[in-house]
Subunit: 533 residues, 2 copies
């Protein structure tokens, strides 16, 4: 479908404050996530000059991104699975330069930073123009530009205008590096793929009860004794490398040190500060409510031990110094009474009239005095286990489960399921509206969302396939939405475009899972459930 | 647990006809699939000589296997996740040689071939002994020997006797290379992993409606026009390489050319022999019973066209020549009336009083005159979609499905599910008894089973993680069963052993999916659903 630059669109370009209608880009030219506004009246394209360059003002983090994108644009030569049906004029002058203009180079990478950009590629002239409010918006525009380039020699659509900005400021991926360990290179590859999908927050669930892989300078014993081994520790220089890589890709690195629950691994260095460490999680005969942890791997920090606060404050201070990020995630999930009740000192406290509520209050009051504790108030980041948990649907990781014995499915209570079954298909993620059912005021408090990969059954061997392309589905929904200009779910069009993008991600080194047979991609629409869109 | 060689066991060694009780190998020393009988009275081990060799009678396919295993045994130096608790005597003489003795070197690799072997490694003496009925049994014993070796320098348990043989003759993996293409190297890596798991049949679902990737010498147009492209065709030399690789790994290559349904790709070369080719699979408003195919990708061979038989016979003859395998799989699944009814010539046949039953009869009678058509009678190979389909549980591959729209799960009719949800967890596969509910006589007709990977949502990027370690779960159940000597499901012990085997497979280059956090593996039993085994 051809789109004409409407007066309405012009108004949007001037004001940038009202959400624009999402317009369809001709299927032959794919960008993921789809930009908010695309105008491409005629299906024209030009070649890129062999000496194509990017002209950019200097910015310490943008500069390496420009170098990276220039190399990608010059060498990728991606061949779309559907040959673009465009008029590629050999006589038109090749595009020589992408000229970047940035309004404010001083804006740091932080929550809510302006990621708006516009891209103009005219039918004639040596230059194309990328205009952004910030260096981070310019990175988004560079990614879009790189996805517009295809073929050998490289070509790009012209007579094209794009205006783009995210619907939600927070678009994240949470990765658990405690249950299983990931190499630094796996994390860097993930951050690069996030950037290519305009996903801007890497929520790093660093520690948990299973291992403590972060070297905390003032508490080195935590990793020395609590990690899976000397070759499975993130050193301060590893963290610096990851943070720097994130800055050069417009991706914030948000650290999480889970406490007071999920701290069994801390007991390897300091057994005295952890209640119920390394006990069998579900003692026979006790009620679920009295379990020692919500899953194997027990241990809660003991609020009655002053050393708890000494260690925790050292950890929080060092983590705050290691990560420039202003958000700090304190965890505080799955605190179960059973664990604290199992500790002798806490039993005494309770027998003297103390309550578990007082325990938690004591813990919170003694630790939230750091300015880095998130002050987001009632604001929300959606990470629904029903829509956004990427580890679900591969069965339970528990061993010795007699519920798997039955020989007939259906009547089988377990039936190969995990608690958060089913697997979250990309369509489920794509079609999820994170503000569904909220009032307009409530919706304003939703900062965005993040997909979540817990690592009971994930590690580097399967990381890419579990994250991609399902994270791409969330990325587009949170960036430009999941509906067409008519307000209809753009499922069919998105399927064709996501297929193309998945293959392009694979060609860039990300082992994303295929969503359809190649035959379906080569025969658009033929693999739909319904021929009507 | 220590096992003593019982009189009962001796009887079994002599007769080999009654299934022996499955005995547990000390957890510190892992073999997958677990051998039928292991005797290891004392936890003793010896080092392997730096000049360790394998002494074997010459056999053209065994020889390369011996070379391969010798290199693996000398260089693997696998470090178990749980350090073996054995008495490793430095003073004991190092093991110099594994001596192989084979009863009949002439037996070819075919269904039901004897895979029995025994392995004796004494506390003293220079030699260990591997005794097998056939070269194929010797390959199974070599794999077991390689899994017994660990550490650097290499050590191996001694005072050890193993007797082993499969419970089921057919233990297979089906791979669909039509919906998405796999490189020859992906197939070879899969065959090598199968051999390491004592899985002995690679059921190659080569062609389907989506692509025809096999170069058939006498019908070259089928692949030239019906494949996904010139770089996605299996040449006769590729097939020869795969067959040869299979012979050197004790894995049969069983070809399947699906017909008369699932033949849409044949129409690219011969449109006249295919009914309803390349039509939308589920025309709006028609009943499911009248669909043109069970999934997108339409086309059935036309039984009324004599050219159909000319082409099909050429294909069957060439495939029979390319593959030494005596089994030929003719497909014949999902034949839907709607496709044949949509063809004008068949409409005429039906309007003149012909029936669909006559059509199918005509097709069968005209094609089953080749001696290679499987003559297994009523015998069965179990490939249950409820237990053995490895592609299930990742959502439906159909595009434009409004069933994904609802924002609440539970009431959602689709809820991210595929028709064969849920994902088949390794526990579901491991605990499945393929003769469940059958009489003794009926059970005798069950040749074995195979896990199945259809490729709507699989290709080389995710192949290993979808196959492994779930195929290992089937491998052990079909080789030595899923119960301990007391007849109880050995779920807990198998979990610990499969964890170790999964890591060893990864170290051998197979990207198998993890089934538990490393913490669980290092703390055996702590991640069980119940502490009672």
């Amino acid at each position: 479908m051809r789109i004409y630059l409407s007066k309405f669109a012009i108004i949007i370009c001037l004001t940038l404050i009202f959400p624009s209608p999402t317009l369809s880009l001709k299927s032959a030219v794919n960008v993921w996530p789809k930009p908010r506004l695309v105008s491409w009246p005629k299906p024209l394209a030009r070649f890129l000059s062999a000496n194509f360059t990017i002209d950019s003002p200097y910015h310490q983090h943008l500069a390496p991104a420009v170098t990276r994108y220039l190399a990608l644009i010059r060498t990728e030569h991606y061949h779309p699975l559907i040959t673009p049906s465009v008029n590629l004029s050999a006589s038109a002058p090749p595009l020589q330069t992408l000229s970047i203009n940035i309004t404010d180079l001083a804006v740091p990478l932080q929550h809510g930073v302006n990621e708006t950009y516009s891209l103009s590629i005219s039918e004639v002239g040596e230059k194309a123009y990328l205009i952004a409010e910030t260096a981070w918006g310019a990175m988004r525009g560079l990614e879009t530009f790189s996805q517009l380039v295809w073929g050998d020699p490289s070509a790009i659509p012209v007579g094209l205008y794009i205006w783009d900005a995210p619907l939600f400021a927070y678009r994240g991926v949470m990765l658990d590096t405690s249950r299983n360990y990931y190499e630094v290179e796996d994390i860097l590859r993930t951050i690069e793929a996030m950037s290519a999908n305009k996903v801007n927050v890497f929520h790093w669930h660093i520690t948990d009860s299973h291992s403590f892989p972060l070297m905390v300078p003032s508490e080195p014993e935590l990793a020395a004794k609590g990690s899976y081994g000397p070759d499975m520790i993130y050193s301060p220089s590893d963290v610096a490398k990851i943070v720097q890589f994130g800055l050069e890709h417009g991706v914030r690195i948000l650290p999480e040190i889970d406490s007071p629950g999920h701290t069994g691994s801390w007991a390897e260095a300091y057994p005295e500060i952890v209640a119920c460490a390394n006990m069998f999680w579900l003692p026979p005969g006790i009620a679920w409510a009295d379990r020692l942890a919500s899953e194997p791997g027990t241990g809660h920090l003991n609020p009655l031990n002053q050393k708890t606060y000494k260690v925790l404050k050292n950890v929080i201070r060092d983590v705050s110094n290691l990560f420039p990020e202003t958000f700090y995630h304190g965890g505080a999930d799955e605190i179960v009474p059973g664990c604290w009740k199992a500790d002798p000192t806490i039993q005494l406290f309770l027998s003297n009239g103390g309550t578990l509520g007082q325990l938690l209050e004591k813990f919170i009051n003694s630790t939230n005095n750091t300015k880095k504790i998130v002050q987001a108030g009632y604001q929300t980041i959606v990470a629904s286990s029903e829509f956004y948990y990427l580890d679900c649907g591969h069965g339970d990781f528990l061993g010795n489960d007699s519920l798997y014995d039955p020989q007939t499915t259906g009547r089988d209570p377990k039936d190969g399921k995990s608690w958060c079954d089913p697997f979250k298909a990309w369509q489920t993620i794509y079609n999820y509206d994170i503000t569904f059912g909220l009032s307009e005021d409530e919706a304003k408090l939703v900062l965005g969302g993040e997909v979540v990969l817990w690592s009971e059954q994930a590690d580097p061997t399967v990381l890419d396939g579990k994250l991609w392309p399902r994270t791409s589905a969330m990325a587009e929904t949170l960036w430009s939405g999941n509906r067409d200009e008519g307000g209809r779910k753009r499922s069919a069009e998105a399927t064709d475009r996501l297929n193309e993008w998945r293959y392009r991600m694979v060609s860039r080194g990300v082992k994303a899972e295929p969503i359809q047979p190649l035959w379906c991609i080569r025969n658009p629409g033929m693999c739909n459930a319904s021929p009507f869109t």
